[in-house]
């Protein structure tokens, strides 16, 4: 089975800190995604990447950046953490267009609290 691993389940950071959330997948998927999950709002796409060093903004990219230097790893960066970025962050991966029929595979999530 494809595995998507997020490095931390829980994080507590201070306002203004630079925060790195790491995600690794082990099945050579082209596409990787970062979503933010908040009660009543569902999942909202922050950024996604369709190839190494390639990225595209999602619906709520403000305050975030990403890095994909290797195919298996996709990092989400909070440049200067703020309390309104307290949330559950979910990483996902999927095959490229030729793999349309598989949907996403999600990691277990990182619950980030900014104090």
């Amino acid at each position: 089975d494809v595995k998507v691993t997020q490095s931390s389940r829980y994080l507590v950071k201070r306002t203004g800190e630079k925060v790195f959330l790491e995600c690794v997948q082990d099945m050579d998927h082209e596409n990787m995604f970062w979503y933010r999950q908040d009660p009543g709002l569902g999942l909202r796409l922050i950024y996604f990447s369709y190839d190494v060093k390639m990225k595209e903004k999602g619906d709520i990219p403000e305050g975030y950046s990403v890095s994909r230097e290797k195919k298996e790893r996709f990092s989400l960066i909070l440049e200067s953490a703020s309390t309104n970025q307290t949330s559950m962050y979910l990483c996902a991966s999927s095959l490229g267009p030729r793999g349309l029929f598989y949907g996403y595979t999600f990691g277990s999530g990182t619950r980030l609290t900014v104090v």
Binding site: G42, L43, L45, T105, S108, G109
Partner: protein, 111 residues
């Protein structure tokens, strides 16, 4: 732009009873439709998906969903709910490389 509406925020159902979760979507082309389930503290797991063909699709854990183009709906059903089905359920639409998710429906199962 694509969007998904899940009209029910929370549903309570008795164990052994049937369950139906509603999903309405907006998408300009033929949609790719998914249902995911999230157990407490976990990531999302794919229940089933629809791309084309038979409009009634079977998934894991005894779930099924029916695509109705005329109603822009993709409702999820299970004939007999088990206590382990208590979770949050998300409907998603789009091209598979960039999905839009609904706000989710939380299912509580009472004994």
């Amino acid at each position: 732009a694509q969007s998904v509406t899940q009209p029910d925020i929370h549903i309570t159902v008795s164990e052994g009873a049937s369950l139906e979760l509603r999903c309405n979507y907006s998408y300009g082309a033929t949609p790719y439709l998914f249902w995911y389930v999230q157990s407490p503290g976990q990531g999302l797991q794919l229940l089933l998906k629809y791309f084309s063909g038979d409009t009634l699709v079977q998934g894991i854990k005894g779930f099924e969903a029916e695509f109705k183009r005329s109603q822009s709906s993709f409702n999820l059903r299970k004939p007999s709910v088990h206590w382990s089905d208590a979770a949050e359920y998300f409907c998603a639409v789009g091209p598979s490389y960039k999905l839009s998710f609904g706000a989710g429906t939380t299912v509580t199962v009472r004994a």
